[in-house]
Point group: C2
Chain length 269, copies 2
């Protein structure tokens, strides 16, 4: 049996015009409205990665969620707008029946051995086995594909009340377990429920508008994680005017900062 | 006399096809190679803002610097790929003689009055009048358009040595003074010299690859700042494989978090 993530990322490059891929939504990754945004972002990374002209590995990705994706087929049109010696710039547009639902830009590149350092420390956390597993898949279907063990800031239950801070920190991995790769890391960067739920202690209509991932991991860093837990932590900075932003980090269990990621989210209050 | 920033942002919508604008590089904003990236980003915000179909104010912007912009004319082709009830998604491509140099996506939107909060505190800082002014315009031309008063992490001088942290915090405003607007705020989000200079205590070839701004300010917040200093702070997270990322915040002197901004930067070492 293929992993649900791999099934959801199956792309057909043969039926469509050159440089585009056709996929279809997966009921396993359904969100409140449309599919899990992390999966859509992962599909774009997977599509570029499979493109014959692709140079190197992902360095940065920005995905803008313009409209909900309906259940069914979608097309991802890819364009390498510039190929330099060590990096390559992409524009991707995901559409359904000619209607643009998602846009993205990505930079792929070749990494070279350089001076390196990581400034922040990973958040302190007990071992994943000692953290509290939270299953919210009856609430949001896509979460059944992840094992989430919260260290801080689990999804607030009924009557939880407001929280003075928006930080959530959790150990997370694909369920069933699956070896980490760039598409999986991309999806994991969007694994956090909206920070406004935590602050207000309740469900509030909210949706990501723009999502950015900076990939720090090289292929070797990913291979070293295998199918182990990652430590994911997110925090909002400002909520105002119906929008808030979020900064997040994804750490390997070995202390490697694999990705830093940001998003801006629309909310109603 | 118009302000150099306004001169640099002069765009001509008449000579080119519908939805595109022609501008030209300004010697006042020259960087080591090509123009100051913050100015290019500001030009894209200005071009969308001037578009007759534009809805609301900037919410998010991602600019990818694909290739150096040569001195001379450039064209910005704009496309509103999706207009929703309260937000609008744009793709912009800046080219010279048909060669794409910069790509961008932006979300503009209408803000509504909602619950609001800012989680982080502004960095502690003396008044700008008591901070150390640094003039590096003999080194990089575009900086002559900004008054920069460093609280922490000024550009290292000869023999400065390595620094264990990459944080720079400075008071900054346009020079000559100019009332803050969305293009000016956009440019100010890119005002930081590359963090790797501070860590290594020396100049190292480096250039921004992808730059994102999340706008928290509404027009009223900008008007309230007038032409006063903003408090800008930036820090890197991970340096590796020839790339590093940067998180930054821009605060009003009145304690309003006006924008949060991120970038990934290429460096040689």
């Amino acid at each position: 049996m293929p992993h649900p993530f791999d099934t959801a990322l199956e792309l057909d490059f043969s039926e469509t015009r050159a440089g585009s891929a056709r996929g279809q939504t997966s009921p396993d990754y359904a969100n409140m409205v449309g599919p899990f945004g992390g999966l859509t972002a992962a599909a774009i990374v997977a599509a570029i990665s499979a493109h014959p002209d692709r140079l190197g590995d992902p360095v940065s990705l920005t995905v803008n969620y313009a409209a909900p994706i309906d259940d069914g087929d979608f097309d991802i049109v890819l364009r390498a707008v510039r190929t330099n010696r060590t990096n390559q710039h992409w524009i991707a547009e995901l559409s359904q029946a000619g209607d643009i639902k998602t846009t993205a830009t990505a930079v792929f590149g070749i990494r070279r051995s350089t001076w390196s350092d990581t400034e922040p420390q990973p958040p302190s956390a007990p071992d994943p086995e000692d953290a509290v597993q939270q299953d919210i898949s009856s609430f949001v279907v896509w979460t059944r594909n992840y094992e989430m063990r919260f260290v801080e800031g689990a999804l607030p239950g009924d009557g939880a009340g407001e929280s003075p801070e928006s930080t959530s920190t959790l150990w997370v991995r694909d369920h069933p377990r699956r070896a980490l790769d760039f598409p999986a890391l991309t999806a994991l960067c969007d694994v956090f429920y909206p920070r406004v739920f935590l602050r207000r202690g309740q469900f509030i209509p909210a949706g990501t508008i723009s999502f950015t991932v900076y990939f720090h991991a090289e292929a070797d860093d990913l291979a070293r994680q295998g199918d182990d837990f990652l430590l994911a932590t997110a925090r909002a900075q400002r909520f105002s005017g119906g929008y808030f932003d979020q900064n997040a980090q994804l750490w390997g269990r070995d202390g490697t900062l694999l990705a830093t990621t940001h998003q801006v989210v629309y909310f109603k209050s």
